[in-house]
Subunit: 226 residues, 2 copies
Amino acid sequence: MQTILVVDDDKDIVDLVRYNLRKEGFTVLTARNGVDALELASQRPDLIILDVMMPEMNGWEVVKKLKAGARTSTIPVVFLTAKSSEVDEVLGLELGAEDYLVKPISIPKLLARVRAVFRKRTSAGTVRENIAVGAVEILPEQHLVMIGGREVFFPRKEFEVLLYLAEREGKAVSRETLLDAIWGSDAHVVDRTVDVHIAKIRDKLGAHSDYVETIKGVGYRLRPPA
Amino acid sequence: MQTILVVDDDKDIVDLVRYNLRKEGFTVLTARNGVDALELASQRPDLIILDVMMPEMNGWEVVKKLKAGARTSTIPVVFLTAKSSEVDEVLGLELGAEDYLVKPISIPKLLARVRAVFRKRTSAGTVRENIAVGAVEILPEQHLVMIGGREVFFPRKEFEVLLYLAEREGKAVSRETLLDAIWGSDAHVVDRTVDVHIAKIRDKLGAHSDYVETIKGVGYRLRPPA
DNA sequence: CGGACGGGTTACGAAACTGTTACGGGGCGG
DNA sequence: CCGCCCCGTAACAGTTTCGTAACCCGTCCG
């Protein structure tokens, strides 16, 4: 079953949310401050419900750190906020906030949002299964790459590029497509940047660097050699 | 130039979007409600930017009707939404929404999304199916050519020429037509250039070089020998 | 028989593309 | 505050691809 991390300094709210989510069958982790939240986030819950206003480390900071961590950057976050004026910030800042809820919390609304997140996750194909291309294995959920059985660390961008290519094994992928998919359609990035990442990926692939083929004038293609 | 239909009940937004899209060279149609939108959609714009919240007929209904109409079902739609909670619905319901934008609108983002839609449409949009002509197999998505089961590399231009001929197997294609289709109508290329590429293609086809027939005074034709 | 046409081939310089390395900025952790 | 890592950009070098021109051949005439 899916795990949800609930973070709020108000014990009443934590209890209320936990009770209701458990009743729905979710596994619930809780934290009363940002530090503990980050600690628990490393367990990779499927969703984080996060209070904006907290002593010491507020919600923004927590999210920033989550997004920075390779293992936690893809976890969806739903904000809890007391003031509706904060809503604009949630939407304005592009922190990858999945959604928000305004206090006082309406339980039906909460559950609806939570279900919506999971629906989106599964329908949008965000369920990232492990992929193997020849001797290269990619484990998206753990942000891990195994090359010939050995574990190799890939920084975020390189990882995403590799994953994208792997999901389309054998297909030619243009730089433009990669930029759209990974950097976002509104990115301000030169396409030669892709080359550099490809170079680094090849470097890490070591003996298997020939998995990444260059198609001049077209793009790249990932596949095991014949 | 491409035509975009903008639908929103807020005049300010319509004006803002129209102004910016026009500046980018698009032809812009506008509607203030769902009914007018459907009316204009019959003109088959290349893209529809659609507000979710509108009086009388909301965005969902408009899209449903668009998808129902044979002439309008393939037009990509980008949603405009004020609340992030609606985003889930956009993605959750599989209405074929191409993308979405959250208000307040960022113009650079809007333009980036629009451009992305057109890029996707022209490049990956069409599902390029594999083609076989005799012993020659062309796999467009992988940018691969198999000749008698053996993989042979074709540089971009040669690949495109071969593909173009293969898509018209048995039909005579003039140099002029090829130049138009592959080099672009605004290219400044001598038509004898085509001959050179044909020669290279024949060379790579090896034993099957006779697939490419010359029709004197007309052009070329690709087909397996009788 | 000579010449005009159309086309096949080859050679070569220019342009286009990519691989790689180096550098600067930013963020995070110590 | 310092140092390390990730990332985007620029610059340089090495290839590949492309477009033309040139030359050659066969055919079809008068």
